[in-house]
Symmetry: C2
DNA sequence: TAGATTGTTAATCGATTAACAATC
DNA sequence: TAGATTGTTAATCGATTAACAATC
């Protein structure tokens, strides 16, 4: 295919484009120019055109972009036209919250199983899956075509579980544990470090306070 | 104080430094050079020194950095030496999960109250606070010295709640709703868009798949 | 003192913005 | 056709990395 690598800065912006285009589509808007979209999203029109052109032109000179077409194309780029089966490892509060979050399913992310090492939680149901013991992790992944593992366990256990996952067919780990994971190349890790995010918030509160003084 | 603005790129890296330094501290390590830290964290030593020097020198030539001192200083920069009182708005699965997450308290973030518009949930207890009705939001914020609001409600309600919050003394919104908020200047918004993060993960899975072909 | 390592300036790299020719 | 707006090249800006003099 010989495509040049797209920078992660661009990728990070795609979900936001996707969201705005989805809203425009729902409102029945048929076409939009990069300038109108730029005003709506508070980014430059130049950046919008550059971003889209990383993937080949989606627009038409003198017309703009067809909303539905662009929405679909970005969806495809993000892989939302495929089904992704996932398991959640860690059936605590956060794991159950994510398991219950229905919107993922709408985007093709299907919860297939949940795991926990706490015997208390085994058998407990979250939507239509029940919590399984950690011993069954590898066989379940193998037999259910799982490609994403969501890690919602404390950081102490996360590193060794990630190591186990690295030996399976899993393609990606969505990591909520507050630790950096080591995985074989080819396994994607996307970190959601909530306390990092909260600290950034805290910095910005205090920065603003100081600027005012 | 006349300080030059620190870029958000630098700020985003501080919590990770803080985490690694905390671990080193716990392991009893007294000093570390930028080079050793760079190997540990897989970033360049140059970046580490540049980052720290944004805030004035924390190190000593020929010696390196004192771990405890550096840890404390970064903590102060992040505002972790102050107490931040917060409320959670939205007592669903995610709101309760965040409310139960004890580690925030260790960093000075104290849960003071929870709110929901669902009468079913009013009075329900999460740790030592109970869920209050939305009508009480403003008075509670005023009377309890709240400076952070955590938004864990569906996107439909989030925009109007953010508007209400903008009129209070609140200094920051930690936004889990999948929508961009409009707030007065001086109110910080830190977004945690989980589905954006999942989409990025999805992109990277498929990118890697394509590269192999 | 000599060696180590920072703080800081300079060079490079990458990402964003501006400009405009191509074209619908 | 004329006007609008993209696709794309060039210019600018900012962030990262390299280099080295200062200094502990």
């Amino acid at each position: 295919m010989e495509e040049k690598e797209i920078s992660q800065a661009v990728i990070s912006r795609l979900p936001r484009y996707f969201r705005y285009l989805g809203e425009l589509k729902d409102r029945g808007v048929e076409r939009i120019s990069s300038q109108d979209l730029s005003r709506l999203m508070h980014v430059t029109a130049s950046q919008i055109r550059q971003d889209f052109n990383n993937f080949g032109g989606f627009g038409q000179q003198g017309y703009g972009y067809n909303v539905t077409y662009l929405y679909d194309e970005i969806g495809k780029i993000l892989g939302l036209d495929r089904q992704h089966n996932f398991v959640i490892i860690g059936a605590g509060n956060l794991g159950r919250a994510l398991g219950n979050y229905m919107n993922f399913e709408r985007r093709g992310f299907i919860l297939k199983g949940m795991f926990d090492r706490d015997p208390e939680l085994i058998g407990r149901r979250v939507r239509d899956v029940s919590v399984m013991p950690m011993e069954e992790l590898e066989s379940f992944i193998r037999e259910n075509d799982i490609d994403i593992a969501v890690l919602t366990i404390p950081k102490e256990g996360a590193v060794s579980v990630a190591e186990r996952l690295g030996k399976t067919q899993i393609r990606a780990i969505w990591n909520f544990a507050h630790v950096d994971l080591n995985v074989p190349e080819g396994v994607q890790v996307e970190n959601v470090h909530l306390s990092d995010s909260l600290m950034k918030l805290s910095y910005n509160i205090n920065r603003y306070r100081n600027e005012q003084m």
